[in-house]
């Protein structure tokens, strides 16, 4: 798979949110949700993005699709720059809108991402009509087929979202995204709101559709076990930066960054007779307004040295495509 060409190239992407200015203070404070992230996503790959809530993983997903206005950096999709803040390039909104056919998003909360006033059919047809995926005469049949592929029978075509359970709604959201035959899909915690049995159904569906439609996924999740199984590659984010990256199996079996190790040790055991090392990180993720100096993880890191407080660790390759940013490697 290594020879697959690049589908999406993200370089030095930044997204800062301005904070409300206190009355008598002059300087503007920024919440650095995504701070200089570079990532290359090859075609037909599933890349998993993991981290605690507040680490900027959702913001990154949205910034790539230009659902947030970026603060800096460059994103190139199939050789076409979506934005390049340094080169002051900006794909015009109309062109971007056409390009959205190829870049879709599956949102976390299936209760919030469907318009309650549109029937399932209308919700799916809307995008298909906008992007002329099929001739108008075939539209209905096409949408029914997509819904059926996603496990929703024809009789639900005229039903409204409130008539469905969480799992079914998530299927509608997936069908709506995939009806446009996209090339790249950002999935923002697609199963977080669902039960375990339904979670497996949805993940299998997403895997089947990936084969069928040759999709590339950016899979955002805080569930490491699911990500490990679903993705080819795992990217771990902490406070707006990527701290470890590599093939999924490799990162999960031999994590090198203390944060990744802690994330894996925090997972509950699979069976009561198993034991695991105690998770060693304390406290919670600091605010992205006041980012710690040096290595961002040092205040919570059990192995922190004085050097970690001063120098920002460089990105190191450990071989086999496994990289991490830590002084201790």
């Amino acid at each position: 798979m290594a020879a697959e060409p690049t589908l999406l190239e993200i370089s030095h992407v930044k997204k800062y949110f301005p904070r409300k200015k206190p009355t008598f203070r002059q300087s503007q404070e920024w919440l650095k949700a995504v701070d200089d992230v570079s990532l290359t996503i090859p075609r037909f790959y599933s890349v998993g993005l993991v981290g605690e809530s507040g680490c900027g993983k959702s913001t990154l997903g949205r910034t790539i699709l230009r659902l947030h206005a970026p603060t800096g950096g460059r994103v190139v999709f199939e050789g076409q720059p979506l934005f390049d803040m340094e080169g002051k390039q900006w794909l015009p909104e109309a062109r971007m809108r056409d390009l959205r056919k190829d870049m879709q998003m599956i949102f976390q909360d299936p209760y919030g991402s469907l318009n309650p006033r549109l029937t399932v059919g209308q919700a799916v047809e809307e995008g298909v009509a906008r992007h002329h995926v099929v001739p108008a005469a075939d539209r209905r049949a096409y949408c029914e087929e997509i819904l059926e592929n996603c496990g929703l029978e024809k009789k639900f075509y005229m039903a409204y979202p409130h008539e469905f359970s969480g799992g079914q709604r998530q299927r509608i959201v997936i069908a709506r995204a995939l009806a446009l035959k996209p090339k790249f899909v950002v999935c923002d915690e697609p199963t977080a709101a669902l039960d375990v049995s339904i979670q497996s159904q949805i993940l299998n569906l997403m895997m089947d559709l990936r084969e069928e439609l040759n999709l590339t996924y950016l899979f955002i999740s805080h569930n490491l076990r699911v990500t490990q199984a679903f993705c080819d590659e795992i990217v771990v984010m902490y406070l707006g930066k990527i701290i470890e990256q590599g093939p999924a199996e490799e990162v999960c079996s031999h994590p090198v960054h203390p944060y990744t190790q802690a994330l894996i040790n925090s997972l509950p055991v699979s069976n009561p007779w198993e034991t695991k090392p105690k998770a060693q990180i304390l406290g919670s993720i600091p605010s992205a307004v006041h980012i710690p100096s040096g290595c961002r993880f040092h205040p919570r890191c059990p192995y922190a040295t004085p050097r970690c407080q001063e120098d920002e660790p460089a990105w190191k390759d450990i071989g086999g495509g496994h990289c991490a940013a830590c002084h201790l490697i």
Binding site: E52, S53, S165, G166, G167, Q168, D195, V196, S197, I198, Q199, S200, Q201, L203, N204, M207, H222, N223, L224, R225, V226, Q228, A229, A262, L263, N265, S266, L267, P268, V269, S270, N271, P272, W273, E274, A279, I281, G283, S284
Partner: protein, 326 residues
Amino acid sequence: MKLLEVKDLNVVFHTILGEAEAVRGISFSVDRGEVLGIVGESGSGKSVTSLAIMGLLQRKKADIRHGTILFDGQDLLSMPEKQLCQLRGSRMAMVFQEPASALNPVIKIEKQLSEVYKLHEPARAKTCHSELVALLKRLNIPDAEDVLKKYPFELSGGMKQRVMIAMAVLCRPDLLIADEPTTALDVTTQAEILELLRLVQQETNCAIILITHDLGVIAEMAQRVIVMYRGKILEECEAESFFRSARHPYSQDLLNTRPEYFSGRFTSIEGSIPSAYEKLTGCAYYGRCRQAEPRCAVRTPEQIQCGDGCVCCLKYETGEGCTHGG
């Protein structure tokens, strides 16, 4: 005498859509100092059971058709509200799933915590500040003094859940019900909260009913497991034998859906849980069960004593397969 005994509990909700039978005749008991895990998908009736035990179901809407709930020998269902209020918060307490909506947003943490004392030990309410600080410190809240002066919205999710646990254990209850205490939290915070519940359990020797749909949480915490499905208990056994050799097909399927058993495909349970409005004949799991036989559609299985627990499946009717293979 067991600490809590639930016998043949049946809860029906009257709604405009008709009657919804949320809990359909369940019986179980909890010993002192025991951690009992209840698992099941959403809609299986686990939360309704816990609300019924706490007496928090709205009496207008929820109809407890029959059944008894004995807490330390006293019948909770026939108890007057006033007496129940004295038990709640002091001898039995609850930790809710959403700490953000369970805490009052306009009252500072200190006042919310001291309210527990005000109700149950008025003499201590005025002088409890140092006790509260000590308790919060015990629960790994670093700047306890500051936290007490804050409003809930100023705290993170994990911190709020810690405050909820503090509130629940203030009067050292005998029974603590934790309804999905870590579902809304990150894995790192989840590990800390579970550690905290373990600490509380060891120090106060209270019984914990842990309701969750995450089998990992059960594996970490529980000694005994109850599997609920559509208002019924399908299986009850020791945690270890549950994970080694669960008997009910639903338990087996649940165990197989865990993502760590991924091999090219995620194992899933097709279909979804039947709605509470449907009148059921036969086994509730019929239709999704891969081991179903024609008789499962018509005959309702009874609970059968089986090894160290019980199971509710026609497969074990003859008593066969009831010994654990280990």
